[in-house]
């Protein structure tokens, strides 16, 4: 697809939970994508679509049930726990709830400093010095904030602490799991700007998960849309917003509020019905129960992710626009395990 070797390749990752007895939930089913160096890939979907589970599966917290996660050429799903721990400094994560992701009884400065402790090779004084530097980088005043505890800081400040902690180990990949969805709009802007800045300053690649398309559009180079454990569309940011191919993507875009007096109200062409239970997903295309274009074929055959334009992948039998092109582009791009 590209001559660039991706930093992260996710291949057929599946996460299955057992929920008592023999009932299983396929939270993530055969998701595959690549994340290139220096790129921000946005991942959107409603709550319960499995995007956080996917993020944790990539982090190996816990390991996925099936599939491979290849970071910089190395499959981290088969690593022993010791070598995995050693490699962890290269991929870090920022969690949704900024306050809950910090140890409540630790001083925040110590939380930042401690992430270097496991890497080893640095003296305590050196670690503290680095932690204070990093606090300055993320816009906190070490004099004022180093010795505070999480509950003494605002949500936005706690999220800055989390970012500092993640950056301490000098990662290549930063996975942000809804980092701004529990913050006020005004604080959210700060955090997004900060993430964009540290991404370019530190040459990071980023997987940015959110349910808010406007946020995702603001920060991403490419966007992947997830529904009920599967990817339904993956395309460059500009393409997916100007010409969404999956009916679900279009519904999501329509739901975004547009501020301003003369803008149409969000929610026209809304999704009907509820998200089906992942314990009992619909046959064929998982979106068919809410899709205005669903036909018999959607019930029978599960659509595979295929390319409809350069870099634009969609998993739909009847995408919203058919791009004129040679027929061979309509082949399934990746084999996916049946579940």
């Amino acid at each position: 697809m590209s001559e660039r070797e991706p930093l992260l390749r996710v291949e057929g990752v599946t996460v299955v939970y057992s929920v008592g007895g023999r009932r299983n939930v396929h939270a993530v089913s055969g998701v595959s994508f690549a994340l290139f160096r220096g790129e921000t890939l946005g991942l959107v979907g409603e709550s319960g679509c499995g995007k956080s589970t996917l993020a944790r599966a990539i982090m190996q917290l816990p390991r996925p049930t099936a599939g491979r996660v290849i970071l910089d050429g190395e499959d981290i799903t088969v690593l022993g726990s010791r070598s995995l721990r050693a490699l962890r400094s290269r991929f870090q994560m920022i969690f949704q709830d900024p306050i809950a992701s910090l140890n409540p009884i630790r001083r925040v400065g110590e939380s930042i400093e401690a992430s270097l402790r496991t890497k080893g090779g640095k003296s305590a004084a050196e670690r503290v010095r680095r932690a204070r530097e990093m606090m300055t980088t993320v816009g906190l005043d070490p004099e004022q904030h180093y010795r505070r505890r999480p509950f003494q800081l605002s949500g936005g400040q706690c999220q800055r602490v989390s970012i500092a902690r993640a950056l301490m180990t000098e990662p290549q990949l930063l996975i942000c799991d809804e980092p701004v969805s529990s913050l006020d709009v005004s604080v959210q802007a700060h955090i997004i700007n900060l993430l964009r800045k540290v991404k370019s300053d530190y040459g990071l690649s980023m997987l940015f998960i959110a349910h808010d398309l406007a946020v995702v559009k603001n920060i991403s180079d490419r966007v992947a849309v997830m529904y009920l454990g599967r990817l339904c569309e993956l395309a460059p940011c500009a393409d997916i917003f100007s010409s969404p191919a999956h009916p679900y993507t279009r519904a999501l875009i329509n739901a975004v509020p547009r501020p301003g007096p003369c803008q149409p109200l969000a929610g026209t062409g809304m999704l009907s019905g509820e998200l089906p239970s992942p314990m009992d997903p619909p046959s064929g295309c998982r979106f068919r129960t809410r899709c205005p274009r669903a036909e018999t074929r959607c019930v029978m055959v599960q659509p595979e992710l295929r390319q409809i334009a350069p870099g634009h992948l969609v998993a739909c039998h009847f995408p919203l626009r058919e791009v004129a092109g040679p027929d061979e582009d309509h082949r399934p791009l990746m084999d996916r395990p049946d579940n």
């Binding site: 721990r85 050693a86 994560m93 969690f95 992701s101 910090l102 140890n103 409540p104 999480p150 993640a166």
Partner: protein
């Protein structure tokens, strides 16, 4: 918002401090030995010679009270500590690893809890003898199950929190996660609970003393003193009442301090 601790909290602290001072300083105070019998004064009321009077065989109640405080405090402090340490170890192991370690530990605790406590104590006294170390150990073992359950519940609660995941994401191993992330958080409510257990253990020791199962006579213990005063209860009620009051105030103080600390911790929790 930090709630101001009331006067009762500080009175309780003062009382415990007083009891501790007396227990530690009992040997240095100008008091008769706790087993020295003054045949001239049998069950006398408090006066200039005997500060708190004498018991039915003429021993100085103040001296016996102070030396008896050593027993109550030793048992009251060490037994909950035994419970806390062993309970935490078992509970954290069960809550952190789940699976078969949890099933074994929880099963063992359930079996242990099914044994009547008094029967356990009687058997323990029979096996270990009735010295202070034996009593402390036996009461300490009785505390282990409740601490273990609490530790397990707290560990499960914290092990799923995002800050533990975050620590794992930075590459921390199990030992570091338990010691640095989970234990400090799980321990806070358990320490407050230990104070509550302390009151319970002091009363339990008193009960054993009353039954003559605590430290062997003539060494003083509060429970034993109450029992000895029974014979002269009508004539000289202070012989029983003074140790009873001391025990009552001590247990009450310990509980009030525990409540105060718990309130303080709840305030902190609610700020999270």
């Amino acid at each position: 918002m930090v709630k101001k601790r009331g006067i009762t909290f500080w009175l309780s602290v003062a009382w415990i401090a007083l009891v501790m001072t007396c227990a530690v300083g009992a040997g240095f105070l100008p008091l008769p030995a706790p087993d020295q019998i003054d045949w001239a004064c049998l069950a006398t009321s408090p006066d200039g010679v005997h500060l708190l009077g004498t018991d039915n065989v003429g021993r100085d109640i103040a001296a016996r009270l102070f030396f008896g405080a050593r027993v109550s405090l030793t048992v009251g402090v060490i037994a909950p500590c035994i419970g806390l340490v062993f309970g935490s170890l078992l509970g954290v192991a069960a809550g952190f690893y789940r699976g078969w370690p949890e099933r074994v530990i929880v099963g063992a605790i359930d079996v242990f809890l099914a044994v009547p406590r008094l029967v356990f104590l009687l058997v323990a006294m029979f096996v270990f003898g009735s010295g202070l170390p034996a009593i402390t150990l036996a009461l300490g073992l009785l505390c282990v199950p409740s601490f273990a359950r609490m530790a397990r519940a707290n560990t499960i609660r914290f092990a799923g929190r995002e800050f533990v995941l975050a620590a794992r994401a930075t590459g921390a191993d199990d030992v570091a996660i338990v010691l640095r992330e989970i234990l400090p958080n799980a321990l806070m409510p358990m320490v407050a609970y230990a104070l509550l257990v302390m009151g319970y253990v002091i009363v339990a020791e008193g009960g054993l003393g009353f039954l003559g199962l605590s430290v062997p006579a003539p060494a003083p213990s509060w429970g034993g003193m109450i029992a000895e005063g029974r014979e002269v209860l009508e004539r000289a009620p202070h012989v029983s009442m003074i140790p009873a009051a001391a025990m009552f105030l001590t247990v009450l103080s310990v509980n009030l301090i525990g409540d105060g600390l718990r309130g303080w911790m709840d305030d902190r929790e609610s700020q999270l």
